[in-house]
């Protein structure tokens, strides 16, 4: 009986010719004497072969292919008309990225200066957010899932992270993308909203893990503000705004964008701590 149970786990691999050499003999010798397992195996083979002969692969109809091409061409033309300064002038984009890199280097320089060096151990969430924002702009980080609205990303995050991910719909959003990553065992959720004027990047992780501070940390000022008001707005950067807030007491979110900080905060206002 136990042997049959083991064979059952091998059936799918056997049907698809994936059995390891070592298991092949065991499998063959079992099904030569056990009709029940042999029948299970043969039924799967018959089903697979039958479906394969009945379903023929089709070529995409020519008119569909050309209609899609036309649609895309139309979009390209439309976008070229409405594109902002940023995309029209690659130099401007490069300049912003250069400023970001310079900004990060500047922050790192101060973090590494002798008097505070020893107090910094884990990656600072604010710095990471700004760095990631730059990587999204440069296309180095790419979303795994995209959708027309945040609802289309719900399943993607729900199935994979233990903390609730704040999925706030944003007005005039062209598309929204999501990707998950792992930082030394800590799950990080990244969202990117594409708006007509640029992108808004949101970085989210477990609030308790940040409080523990051994992987991702946060400055005392930010922690105090978040605990007291549920919000923290950083106004020290000129070229972009950083806004942090708590979601459902479990998740800490950081949004980075080139828009005004008040406007950015307003965008996520309803996600505040309840």
């Amino acid at each position: 009986m136990n042997e049959c149970k083991k064979i059952q786990q091998f059936i799918t691999d056997a049907v698809d010719n994936r059995l390891k050499e070592a298991d092949k003999e065991f499998f063959q010798s079992h099904i030569s004497k056990c009709h029940s397992c042999r029948n299970d195996y043969e039924l799967d083979v018959l089903t697979k072969d039958f479906v394969k002969t009945k379903i023929s692969r089709q070529t995409t109809p020519h008119e569909i292919a050309s209609r899609i091409k036309q649609d895309i061409d139309k979009h390209v033309a439309q976008e070229q008309r409405t594109r902002g300064v940023f995309a029209q002038y690659p130099l401007a984009r490069a300049a912003v990225i250069a400023m970001l890199v310079f900004g990060i280097a500047f922050v790192l320089y101060f973090l590494n200066s002798p008097d505070i060096q020893n107090t910094v151990q884990a990656a600072d969430m604010m710095d990471k957010s700004i760095e990631n924002y730059g990587l999204f702009l440069a296309g180095t980080i790419q979303p795994q899932q995209i959708g027309q609205n945040v609802d289309e990303l719900r399943d993607y995050f729900q199935e994979r992270v233990e903390f609730p991910v704040a999925l706030k719909p944003v007005k005039d959003c062209e598309w929204v993308g999501g990707v998950l990553s792992d930082y030394d065992g800590l799950s990080l959720a990244h969202l990117v909203y594409k708006l007509p004027g640029g992108i808004v990047y949101v970085y989210q992780t477990n609030w308790n893990a940040v409080l523990e501070g051994d992987k991702i940390s946060l400055s005392n000022g930010a922690v105090t503000s978040l605990n007291q008001t549920g919000w923290y707005v950083n106004g020290t950067h000129d070229e972009y705004s950083v806004v942090m807030w708590l979601y459902n007491d479990e998740t800490v979110c950081t949004a980075v964008s080139s828009m005004e900080k008040d406007q950015l905060r307003q965008m996520f206002a309803e996600d505040t701590q309840e």
Partner: protein, 171 residues
């Protein structure tokens, strides 16, 4: 484009919806193209966009898998297997003369998670590793979904064949 078109056809079960889904997928992909990193699997990326669009579009119409009586088929197979060892003959007795369209309908009838894996592995001929990248799940999940998917599909095909009166009366 053909793999996406065929997947759309099997997912939706009809050319009109398949066309819409294909179009939606390409438009989304186009809008996102500048965020796609070269060197990653473009086909898998497009496939995930399509699957995600499909699931979102038909979310409300999710079918719960009905009760499946595997024993009935096993018993029937046991009987015919004693009379024959020829695979073609056995296949015909099991599934009769089902038409291609009916087989396509049977595929559309099984729940999406199993359907997708059956389409990828048994129709498109992808390996478990490739399917795992497409669906973004572990290989073990591909294996178990394929196992259950084939059973569900067999049950549908068997029922269809018998409804059409192709059952061979051997008992």
């Amino acid at each position: 484009m053909d793999i996406l078109y065929n997947y759309a056809l099997r997912l939706t079960g009809n050319p009109e919806d398949a066309n819409d889904l294909l179009q939606e997928t390409y438009l989304k992909a186009y809008r996102f193209w500048d965020k796609f990193e070269k060197g990653t699997n473009c086909r898998a990326w497009l496939f995930r966009i399509m699957r995600n669009s499909y699931i979102n579009r038909y979310r409300k119409a999710v079918k719960t898998p009905e009760h499946v009586d595997y024993d009935e088929i096993k018993e029937f197979y046991n009987t015919i297997r004693e009379q024959s060892t020829d695979a073609n003959d056995l296949s015909e007795r099991l599934f009769g003369q089902l038409l291609d369209d009916q087989v396509a309908t049977a595929i559309t009838d099984i729940p999406e998670e199993f359907r997708t894996v059956v389409i990828l592995c048994d129709i498109e001929g992808f390996t478990y590793e490739e399917a795992a990248e497409f669906v973004d799940c572990p290989i073990g999940t591909i294996r178990s979904r394929l196992h259950r998917g084939r059973k569900l599909l067999r049950d549908k095909l068997f029922k269809y064949a018998h409804e059409r009166g192709y059952e061979v009366k051997d008992k």
